[in-house]
C-alpha cells in the first residue's frame, strides 16, 4: 500500500521543457487518471513515475521516499503498456511469472500467485499459449495479470485500452475498475479518452502542453472547470464557446462564455439568450444533437432529449440557458 507524491516535477529533452512542474499527491488506494490530448506529456509523466524516464527537476516520492534515482524494479511498481509488451516467445504463464522468477520467489508460490491472477482474469485455459495465439482482449488481460502477480504498491497504466475495439474497451474499463477496487492498489492511469477518465478516476489530472490544468474528482472537474481548455476537453459533445460581448455588459476584450450543450434549450418564444439557425440535426435515439450558427457566425451545439421533435434544418430558434450554467473565461483561458 502506498502513496505517490509528485513535487514540482519537470522534464526537458535537450533545451525543450516538455513538463513544466506538476504537483500531486496520490492517496493510498486511490485511482488517479491523467488525461489530455496526445503530446501533452501525460505518458512522459507516467514514465517518470515508473523510472523509465529520468527526472529533470523536482521529486517523485513513493511512500514519502524520494525515488528519482531508483531503478524501476526497485520502486515496487507494475506497469501495463499500451502495446502490452508481452514477451512473444514465452507462454502466458511464463509472461506472468517472469518478474517473480527474477526475484527468486519459490516455485510453489509463483504457481499459486499466477493461478490466482489467471482465475481473476479468466485466463486459466490459456496459460500454456503464446501471446500471438490470443485475442487483443486476452493479451490485454495477460498484461494486467503480469502486473497483478507482483502485488506491487502502485499500478501504472499507459493507455492500456487504446488498442482494443470500442466494445471491448468498455468491457475492459469495467474490469479494470472492479479489479482495482478489489485489490485496493494505488493506481495511476494515462489516457487520452475523457470518457475513460471520467468513469475510472477517483481523481483526475487534466494536462495540456506539459501543465496540469486541473486536478480533482471527475464530476467536480466537469461542473467547475478551471480553464477553457478543461471545459472544452471534458464533456461530450464539447462545451460551446461564445464571445461574451454579444450578451451585453462590457466584459474585458476576449472574454468568452462557455456553455455546455446539455445546458442549452431550444425555445420557440419565451425567454431566450440568443437567436440561432439550425445547420443540421443528428438524432441519436436517446438524444438529439442540434448544430446551429449564431448571428455572429459562431457554431453552437445543443443536446436535447430524443423524445423532443427534431428541429428542421434552416429553421431559427431562440436558445436559452440558466445563468448558473454560464462559465466565463478570460482571454488567457482562465476561469473568471
Amino acid at each position: 500500500m502506498a502513496t505517490v507524491t509528485l513535487e514540482n516535477l519537470k522534464k526537458s529533452f535537450g533545451d525543450t521543457e516538455v513538463i513544466h512542474g506538476v504537483n500531486m499527491h496520490i492517496e493510498d488506494g486511490e485511482f488517479v487518471v491523467i488525461v489530455g490530448p496526445s503530446g501533452c506529456g501525460k505518458s512522459t509523466l507516467l514514465r517518470m513515475v515508473a523510472g523509465l524516464e529520468t527526472v529533470s527537476a523536482g521529486t517523485v516520492k513513493i511512500n514519502d521516499t524520494p525515488m528519482n534515482d531508483t531503478e524501476p524494479m526497485d520502486r515496487d511498481i507494475a506497469m501495463v503498456f499500451q502495446t502490452y509488451a508481452l514477451y512473444p516467445h514465452m507462454s502466458v504463464f511464463d509472461n506472468m511469472a517472469y518478474s517473480l522468477k527474477i526475484s527468486r520467489v519459490p516455485r510453489a508460490e509463483i504457481e499459486a500467485r499466477v493461478a490466482k491472477a489467471a482465475d481473476m482474469l479468466e485466463l486459466t485455459p490459456y496459460l500454456k499459449r503464446k501471446p500471438r495465439q490470443l485475442s487483443g482482449g486476452q493479451r490485454q488481460r495477460v498484461a494486467m495479470g503480469r502486473a497483478i502477480v507482483r502485488k506491487p504498491a502502485v499500478f501504472l497504466f499507459d493507455e492500456p485500452l487504446s488498442n482494443l475495439d470500442a466494445k471491448l474497451r468498455v468491457q475492459m474499463r469495467l474490469e479494470i475498475k472492479t479489479l482495482q477496487r478489489e485489490l485496493g492498489v494505488t493506481s495511476l492511469y494515462v489516457t487520452h479518452d475523457q470518457v475513460e477518465a471520467m468513469t475510472l478516476a477517483d481523481r483526475m489530472i487534466v494536462m495540456t502542453a506539459g501543465v496540469a490544468d486541473q486536478i480533482g474528482a471527475p464530476l467536480e472537474v466537469y461542473a467547475n472547470p478551471k480553464t477553457a481548455f478543461v471545459a472544452g476537453f471534458i464533456g461530450s459533445p464539447p462545451t460551446n464557446f461564445l464571445d461574451a460581448a454579444q450578451f451585453g455588459g462590457s466584459p474585458a476584450p476576449g472574454t468568452q462564455v462557455g456553455i455546455r450543450p446539455e445546458h442549452v434549450r431550444l425555445t420557440n418564444g419565451g425567454a431566450s439568450n440568443l437567436e440561432a439557425r439550425v445547420v443540421y440535426a443528428e438524432p441519436l435515439g436517446a438524444e438529439t444533437l442540434v448544430h446551429l450558427t449564431t448571428p455572429d457566425g459562431s457554431a453552437i451545439t445543443v443536446r436535447q432529449d430524443g423524445a423532443l421533435p427534431v428541429p428542421e434544418e434552416g429553421s431559427s430558434h431562440g436558445l436559452h440557458w440558466d445563468a448558473e450554467h454560464e462559465m466565463r473565461f478570460s482571454e488567457a483561458g482562465q476561469r473568471i
Partner: protein, 278 residues
C-alpha cells in the same frame, strides 16, 4: 498471374531444365570421375555414367589422400567453419546489444569503427594480416584460421537491424519486471533472435567452409589444411598426371557438408540471405 498455357508452358519448363542441367553437369562429371579408375579418365573421352570404384576411391581419399588424409582436412574445415560462425555470432550479438541498448561514451566512434569493416574482405589486407598472425604464432593453428576472419561487421549489422525492430516496450517491461541488462539479453532478446541466429549460422558456416586464400597462407603443414584449399595441393607440380578419381572424390566431399546445410535449412537460409543483404 498471367498464366502460361500449352506450348509456352512447355518452353518454360525446357528453359528451366536447360538451366538446371548447366548447373548440374560439372558436378555430375565430378561424381562420375570419382567412381571410375584413373585409366578411364586419362584415356579420353571419359565415360558419362558412374563406374564401380566409388567405395574404393572415397576410402582412398578419406584415409590417405595425396598429401594428407581427406578426413583430417574435413575435420579442419569443420572446426574452422564452426569456429568462424559461432565466434562471429557471439561477438556480433554482444556488440549489437551494446550499441542498440546502451548509451555510453564512444558509442558512435565504436559504431563506425565496426561498420567501416562492413565490406572489406580479408583479401584486401592480406599481407599485413598474415604478418600479424605470424607474429602471434598463429600459423598452422585453428586460432589463426578462425580469429582474423571473425573481424567483420555483417553479422553485427544484421543483429543491430533486428534489435531495432524489437519494440522498446519489451525492454522497459523487462526493466519493470526487475530484469538487469544481461538477464534481459539472455531471457528475452536471445530467444527472440533464434531464427536470425540460425539463418546467420548457415551463411557464416558456408562462408567459413569456403575460405580459400587465408588457409592457403596460414597453413603450411598438410595436416592443418582445410579441404577447400587442400584440393589444389593435390595437383602434382610439373607434368605428372593428377590422381583425378581421388581429386574429384575430394571435391565432392568438400561440397557435401555446405550443400547439406543449405538444402536442409533452405527456408532459413533464403530468409537469412535476403535479410542480411538488405
Amino acid at each position: 498471374m498471367v498464366e502460361k498455357r500449352g506450348a509456352g508452358l512447355w518452353l518454360t519448363h525446357v528453359g528451366m531444365i536447360i538451366g538446371v542441367a548447366f548447373i548440374f553437369f560439372p558436378i555430375w562429371l565430378a561424381f562420375v570421375a570419382s567412381t571410375v579408375e584413373q585409366q578411364a579418365i586419362v584415356r579420353p573421352p571419359m565415360p558419362l555414367l558412374p563406374g564401380d570404384k566409388l567405395v574404393e576411391n572415397y576410402t582412398r581419399a578419406l584415409t590417405s589422400g595425396v598429401n594428407a588424409p581427406v578426413a583430417t582436412m574435413l575435420f579442419n574445415s569443420a572446426i574452422m567453419a564452426t569456429g568462424i560462425a559461432v565466434g562471429k555470432i557471439i561477438i556480433s550479438l554482444l556488440s549489437a546489444f551494446a550499441i542498440v541498448y546502451f548509451r555510453f561514451p564512444g558509442r558512435q566512434i565504436f559504431f563506425w569503427l565496426i561498420f567501416v569493416t562492413l565490406m572489406l574482405p580479408v583479401e584486401v589486407r592480406i599481407v599485413p594480416t598474415y604478418e600479424v598472425a605470424a607474429n602471434f604464432g598463429m600459423l598452422n593453428s585453428y586460432s589463426g584460421l578462425i580469429l582474423p576472419l571473425i573481424a567483420s561487421a555483417t553479422a553485427t549489422f544484421l543483429f543491430r537491424q533486428f534489435f531495432m525492430t524489437v519494440p522498446s516496450e519489451l525492454a522497459e517491461a523487462a526493466r519493470v519486471d526487475g530484469a538487469r541488462p544481461m538477464r534481459f539479453f539472455f531471457d528475452i532478446l536471445l530467444p527472440m533472435s533464434r531464427t536470425n541466429i540460425a539463418a546467420l549460422f548457415v551463411i557464416l558456416f558456408i562462408f567459413g567452409w569456403n575460405q580459400y586464400l587465408w588457409p592457403l597462407l596460414i597453413t603450411t603443414d598438410p595436416s592443418m589444411n582445410t579441404i577447400v584449399m587442400g584440393i589444389k595441393q593435390m595437383f602434382p607440380s610439373g607434368d605428372d598426371t593428377a590422381d583425378w578419381p581421388v581429386i574429384m572424390a575430394t571435391s565432392l566431399l568438400a561440397m557435401i557438408p555446405p550443400v547439406i546445410v543449405v538444402i536442409s535449412m533452405q527456408r532459413l537460409f533464403v530468409r537469412g540471405l535476403v535479410d542480411s543483404e538488405k
